[in-house]
C-alpha cells in the first residue's frame, strides 16, 4: 500500500516507478500535476475523494498503462493536451490485457480512454465530459482500436467527437451507457464483428449512431432520441449483415434508421415514434425481416429508392393504417403498403420535399393507394397489427 501526495517525496511519479506487481497506490486528495505517468507494473491505482490528476493541457497522454492487470478506480483526470499528431488521451492502454477502468471522471480529455490492441478490458461507470469542439478538433470519448473482449458499461460520455468508437473490435459489449451531445456519433462501429450493445441511450448527438461494415451485431433495448438535423439520424446501418435489432426505441429523430447495404437483419419489437423518417432503406438492403415493430406518428414510416423490395414486413403496427379487422383476430384484413408515393418521389428528387403537406400531395398519395403504379408492390405488410404489440424483449 502506497500513498501518493501532490508534493513531497512520495509523488505519484515516484511511486509508479517503485511499485511492484500487486501493489495498491492510493492517490491522495489534491491536484497532482503532470502528464505521461507510466504504469509499468500490475497495480491498482485508487483515487481518494478530491484526488485530481491535471496535465494543464500540456505534454502528451496522462496515464500510460504499460502492464497487464492494472486497475484504475475513482480518479479524476483532466485537461489533456490537444494534438493533431498524437492521439493524446487521459488513459491510454496499448497492447495490454485485463485492464479495468472504473468510476473515473475525465474532464476535458482530448481522447478520454484509449484502448489499442488490448483484450479483456473493462471500462465501467466512468463520467467523461469533453470540451465541445467541432469534429476535426476533438477526439473520441472511449476509443477502442483492434481490441477483443472489451466491456464498456454504465459510462456517461458527452462533448467528444464520437462518444464511443470501436474499430476492428471482436466481442465488444456496450451496455447501459449514456452517450450524448457528441459532435459526430454517439456510438461508432467500424469493422467490428460479433459485438453487442444493449440498453444504451444515445441522444442529441451530431448524427446518432453509426454501425458500419460489421457482421453479427446485436442491438437490444437502446434508446435513440432527439438526433435531429438535416444530416442527422438515429441509427445508420451501412454494410451490415446478420444484425439483430430488438426492443429499441427511436423517438424524434430526423431519420430513425438509415440503411444502406444492410442485409439479413432481423428487426423486431422496435418502436418508431415521431420521427421524420422511420425506416429509410436504400440501395442493397435485402432479405431483412421487419416484424412486430410499432410505427407511430412518423412523417414517413418507410421510404425506399426502388420499386423492388425483397424485405419481409409482417405483423407491424402502423398508426397510419386505415384498414379494418372484421374477424377480430387483432390483424388488419387489408394489407398495408407503408411506402407513400410522395416518399418515393422525395427519395428520387429531393427538392420535391417543398411540397410536403400540400393538398396536391395528399390527393396524389390517395390515388396511388387506390391504384398503385409506382410504389413497391412487394413492400407490403400483409398482416398489419391493429394495436402496438406489448413490448416483450
Amino acid at each position: 500500500m502506497h500513498r501518493a501526495y501532490p508534493g513531497g517525496e512520495n509523488t505519484l511519479r515516484h511511486l509508479l516507478s517503485v511499485a511492484a506487481n500487486g501493489d495498491t497506490i492510493r492517490v491522495m486528495p489534491g491536484v497532482h500535476r503532470g502528464h505521461t505517468f507510466d504504469i509499468r507494473t500490475s497495480i491498482t491505482l485508487l483515487g481518494q475523494p478530491g484526488a485530481v490528476i491535471d496535465a494543464a493541457s500540456t505534454g502528451s497522454s496522462i496515464l500510460l498503462v504499460n502492464a497487464d492487470d492494472v486497475a484504475i478506480r475513482n480518479l479524476t483526470i483532466r485537461n489533456v493536451a490537444v494534438s493533431y499528431v498524437d492521439d493524446n488521451a487521459a488513459i491510454k492502454v496499448i497492447q495490454r490485457q485485463r485492464v479495468a477502468i472504473t468510476n473515473c471522471r475525465i474532464e476535458n480529455g482530448f481522447f478520454a480512454i484509449y484502448l489499442s490492441k488490448s483484450s479483456n478490458c473493462r471500462v465501467t461507470g466512468n463520467t467523461i465530459i469533453g470540451t465541445e469542439r467541432d469534429e476535426s478538433n476533438s477526439g473520441n470519448g472511449i476509443h477502442a482500436w483492434t481490441c477483443r473482449d472489451i466491456l464498456v458499461s454504465d459510462n456517461s460520455v458527452s462533448g467528444h467527437r464520437d462518444g464511443i468508437y470501436f474499430e476492428f473490435m471482436r466481442h465488444g459489449t456496450v451496455m447501459r451507457n449514456h452517450s450524448w451531445r457528441n459532435a459526430r456519433y454517439g456510438l461508432h462501429f467500424m469493422f467490428s464483428d460479433s459485438c453487442s450493445y444493449k440498453t444504451n441511450t444515445f441522444e442529441y448527438n451530431g448524427a446518432g449512431v453509426a454501425v458500419m461494415y460489421s457482421k453479427w451485431i446485436e442491438m437490444f433495448d437502446n434508446n435513440f432520441q432527439h438526433n435531429w438535423g438535416p444530416t442527422s439520424y438515429g441509427l445508420l446501418l451501412k454494410d451490415i449483415t446478420d444484425g439483430h435489432l430488438r426492443g429499441n426505441r427511436f423517438v424524434h429523430n430526423s431519420v430513425a434508421i438509415h440503411g444502406e447495404q444492410a442485409s439479413r437483419i432481423l428487426m423486431h419489437n422496435n418502436t418508431f415514434v415521431r420521427n421524420g423518417y422511420g425506416l429509410r432503406i436504400l440501395g442493397g438492403c435485402e432479405l431483412n425481416t421487419i416484424t412486430n415493430n410499432a410505427f407511430d406518428g412518423n412523417t414517413f414510416d418507410v421510404t425506399t429508392g426502388t420499386r423492388e423490395s425483397n424485405n419481409l414486413f409482417r405483423e407491424n403496427y402502423w398508426s397510419a393504417y386505415d384498414g379494418y379487422d372484421l374477424d377480430r383476430d387483432g390483424y388488419g384484413d387489408v394489407p398495408y403498403h407503408p411506402v407513400r408515393l410522395y416518399a418515393l418521389l422525395v427519395e428520387q428528387m429531393p427538392s420535391a420535399v417543398i411540397l410536403m403537406h400540400t393538398a396536391f400531395i395528399t390527393i396524389l398519395d390517395l390515388t396511388e393507394r387506390i391504384i398503385p403504379t409506382m410504389t413497391p408492390e412487394t413492400l407490403v405488410d400483409s398482416k398489419p397489427l391493429m394495436r402496438p404489440s406489448t413490448m416483450q424483449p
Binding site: W228, G229, P230, T231, S232, S254, R274, G276, Y277, G297, T299, L345, Q348, M349, P350, S351, A352, V353, I354, L355, M356, H357, T358, A359, F360, I361, I363, L364
Partner: protein
C-alpha cells in the same frame, strides 16, 4: 363617408350566420387538435392544412357571393353622392376584416387557453392566415365585380381556388420532375413565393424544426427566409397578391356600368 359605409357593411356581415359558423369552426378545430393531438408540430401541421385550404375557399366563395348579394345596395348607393372608391373600399374591407377577426379569435382563444398562442408556429399561422384572408377576399372581389353572372362568378372563383390550392403544386412537381437534373433550389423558391398559399405553408413549416426533415432543400429555404431579403420578398409577395387584385377590382368597379 367610407367609415359610415364600412360600419354598415360590417354590421351586415356580422349578422350573417356564416361568420358565426366560420368562427365556431376554427375554434372547434383548434381546440380539438390541441386537446387530442400530442406534440406541437402535429397540431400546427393539422391546423395549417385546414387554414391553407379553408381560408382561401371561404374567402373566394363568400367574397364573390357578397358582391352579388349586395348589388341592390351598391346600385342604391351609386345614386347617392358617394364616391365609387369609398363604396368599393367599404365593401371589401367590410367583409374581409370581420372574417379575419373571426379567424384570429377562433384560433387565438383556444391557443391562448392552452398557452401556445405566443409560440412562433402559432404566430406564423395566425399571421399567414390573416394575409391569406386579405389576398383571397381581394381576388374574390375582383372576380365578383368583373363577372356579371352569379353562377359564372362562383365557378371562376372556385377554379381560382383550385388553381392556387392544388393545381399550382402539381405544376411545381411537374417542373421538379422535368428538370430533376438541374439545381432547382432558387427556381423552387421563386415558384413558392409566387403562390400565397405555398408561401404561407413554407413560412409556417420553417418556424418549427420541420426544416431539418427537408434536408438540403430545407436548409436552402431556411437560409433564404431567414435573411432580410427573404422576409422582404415574402412580405412583398403577399402584399402584391393583395394590392393587385384590389386595384384590378377597384378599376373594374369604378368603370362598371351597373
Amino acid at each position: 363617408m367610407m367609415t359610415i359605409l364600412l360600419r354598415y357593411v360590417v354590421r351586415d356581415v356580422l349578422r350573417s350566420k356564416w361568420l358565426a359558423l366560420y368562427l365556431t369552426f376554427f375554434a372547434a378545430v383548434t381546440e380539438g387538435l390541441l386537446y387530442f393531438t400530442a406534440g406541437e408540430a402535429k397540431t400546427v401541421i393539422g391546423l395549417m392544412n385546414v387554414v391553407l385550404l379553408l381560408i382561401p375557399l371561404a374567402a373566394v366563395v363568400f367574397g364573390t357571393l357578397h358582391v352579388h348579394h349586395n348589388r341592390d345596395f351598391v346600385e342604391l348607393m351609386l345614386t347617392q353622392p358617394v364616391s365609387r372608391p369609398s363604396i368599393f373600399g367599404a365593401l371589401y374591407l367590410g367583409v374581409a376584416l370581420p372574417f379575419m377577426a373571426a379567424f384570429v379569435i377562433g384560433v387565438g382563444v383556444p391557443s391562448i387557453l392552452h398557452g401556445v398562442a405566443f409560440t412562433a408556429p402559432f404566430q406564423a399561422l395566425i399571421g399567414t392566415g390573416c394575409a391569406l384572408t386579405m389576398v383571397f377576399f381581394a381576388i374574390a372581389y375582383f372576380v365578383g365585380v368583373a363577372i356579371q353572372d352569379k353562377a359564372t362568378a362562383m365557378g371562376a372563383a372556385f377554379l381560382l381556388w383550385l388553381l392556387f390550392g392544388v393545381v399550382y403544386d402539381g405544376v411545381i412537381l411537374g417542373v421538379t420532375v422535368a428538370f430533376a437534373d438541374y439545381p432547382l433550389e432558387m427556381a423552387t423558391i421563386g415558384m413558392i413565393v409566387g403562390n400565397p398559399i405555398d408561401l404561407a405553408r413554407i413560412i409556417v413549416m420553417l418556424t418549427f424544426d420541420y426544416a431539418a426533415l427537408m434536408g438540403y432543400t430545407g436548409a436552402v429555404f431556411q437560409q433564404f427566409f431567414g435573411t432580410t431579403t427573404g422576409i422582404m420578398v415574402s412580405t412583398l409577395s403577399l402584399a402584391l397578391w393583395t394590392l393587385i387584385p384590389v386595384y384590378a377590382g377597384y378599376r373594374t368597379f369604378c368603370r362598371k356600368d351597373w
